[in-house]
Amino acid sequence: MPAAPDGPRRETVTGVPRQARRPLGHTAARSEIDEQTTIGTTYVRSLMRSQLKAGLTALGVLILFVGTLPLLFMLPESVTGSEVSPTLWVWLSLGVGVYPVMLLIAHWYVRRAERNERDFTGLVEGR
């Protein structure tokens, strides 16, 4: 932490740089969101829904590929009736295999979520 100043520190007040103001004007859809009208809320809801859908899809894939593994590991024992659990299979899937799968799911999700946001921005700004 910087040492406490002896007196009051000088406060720099910056002006409004011209280029910092985006030229994009207020479109109808944006002011709806700003003013939290029913339509505005609907816009936000639609974004939330599309994002939630992407999230739940990714979560579903995770459960399908990783969440079911403990059950799969149990299966051969009950099916084949042999006492030997397929240890090598456990090592390979848990030690190595699941990580690329998770990374792929994450990659897909990030692209999907960003596309949802781009689409939404396009919609709201009337482009």
């Binding site: 932490m1 910087p2 406490a4 100043p5 009051p8 520190r9 406060e11 720099t12 007040v13 910056t14 002006g15 409004v16 740089p17 280029q19 910092a20 103001r21 944006r30 969101i33 700003d34 939290q36 505005g40 809320t41 936000v44 974004l47 939330m48 994002q51 939630l52 999230g55 990714a58 979560l59 995770l62 990783v66 969440g67 403990p70 059950l71 149990m74 024992e77 006492e83 030997v84 659990s85 240890t87 456990v90 090592w91 848990l94 030690g95 699941v98 990580y99 998770m102 990374l103 799911i105 994450a106 990659h107 999700y109 990030v110 979520a113 960003e114 946001e117 939404f120 921005t121 709201v124």
Partner: protein, 631 residues
Amino acid sequence: MNQTYAVTAVTVVVLATVLIGALGLRISRTTSDFYVASRTVQPGLNAAAISGEYLSAASFLGVAGLVLLQGPDMLWYPVGYTAGYLVLLILVAAPLRRSGAYTLSDFAEARLESHTVRRFASLFVVGIGWLYLLPQLQGAGLTLEILTGSPDWVGSLVVALVVTGAVAAGGMRSITFVQAFQYWLKLTALLVPALFLIVAWFGDNTPRATFDAPAVFREHTSVRIDDTVRIELDAPITLTVDGKVDGTSYEKQRVALGEGTHRVESGTRLGFQAGTSVPETKEHTGTGTSNWSRPLAGDRDEYRLYATYGLILATFLGTMGLPHVAVRFYTSPNGRAARRTTLVVLGLVGAFYLLPPVYGALGRIYAPELALTGDADAAVLVLPERLIGGVGGDLLGALLAGGAFAAFLSTASGLTLAVAGVLHQDVLPARGVGHFRIAAVMAVAAPFGVSLIATNVPVADAVGLAFAVSASSFCPLLVLGIWWRRLTPPGAVAGLVTGGGAALTAVLATRTGLPSAGWAHTLLAWPAVWSVPLGFLTMIVVSLLTPSRIPPGTAATLARLHLPEDLSERRRGDGPLRELRAADKRAVQYGERRVVPQGEQDGRRGKRRARTDAEQQEARPDAEQQEPGER
């Protein structure tokens, strides 16, 4: 093991940590730097920092120890730690960043506009933080004990002191550099010796680790039992005893022990011949998910499946509620960067977790006696000496020791920072830097005290418990808070207390050893399966019962959480203003005035800051009225 090398390595890591922290401190000028590194940390650096903070002693030492003890089922731990980040990315990463919350308590207050919820959230942040700090300190004690033979509180004390000092003095920007450095250090420290060990293993004609049967001593091994244990023998064995077994004293005599349970007093030295099976100790059965050395009986299978799912739920959902994880998201520039950062974190963490299982499997072959002495967590540290030996083994061992210390320091400092922040804001009468330092001391002192009393909790196990509590309390709060409009403050409090409280009670009950076996024990040892749904359900039902208490600003808050920044930042400066005001508030608490950064000198950052500042001035009048819930 050569003490000089190891002590040197640990000292170097500690010094490097302090040095990098101090360097970061010099460029950390403003209050904004101090708290959030000016929100300019780019994904690459930030991801390394997050990974560095996240990969704790449980990952560095604990995973290998558990694999050694209990076999490949324990690989669910690293898988769960990684998947936790995936779930975090999917459900909360970007909205959490956009909420502008610094701690989980801030999030709770911002979303639900209620002081009461904030207080309860703070309670859980501190509780979870302490639960997680405890194994870090214990791990440090164990490491130093193995390396130098010092009493086990010394290592804890070293970590506690360094961390308290760093947190009291440092800030987010310097911590970011320190954590990033420590990620790469940890990866190197685990990767390089692993390569040498694998080569040595090949040179030894690749003996296989057996996980379905008891491990076997490869050569004549002498084991000193430090704590009294009860061992169980499946078949009679002959061994040399120097000490007390089953109440009879022996002096370096050969003793034949029959089948059954035997009590070995502390301080006894047992000599096993090559080819003898490693006896199983009573203490290690039942705490883990599987029991490697015994054929699994019918009902044990159900336990095992249940326990595995308990572990999966706790780690997958618990990561998002860890106090030090949430704080880190605030340093990303925006929600999009937060998402991309999390993606990189997944890659870094996943790469790291390829390594500990190697140590676990090799430990099972070359250091099986660790299961007997209860020091399985030390497997990583002793392997180079066993397999390679000589100066090379000592050097690699020293590298591992340094990496382990980096693990303790980084996770412990992140946790201490988060816990101290909450203690300072919500518990102590906030009056400046002095109180923050007191908070930092409190944050470390409590778990340090407990670590002196409660010994012999396996590192990864204790961390698993922290995850269970977090998954049952903060996961419902975050997920419902972000995605559900009808969440109310009473619902949130009820869910936190019921879900988190139930998990915490179960955890404490197992720690005190109340139900010693059977389903009751399994249910309490792995509470997440029932406590997470309990937390969600309570939160939903109570919220639905109190519809009149839905916070008035819910629609606005949710819009801020989900809209991309380029849209929402222009909404009358609402988001940034809130953050800036929060920073102002803290600045006042810390006896400092907020200084508008001299950002114009460096391009991109200057632009962003300037816009925010400009908007803040524009926005202040009407935004004040817009948010009645804001203090």
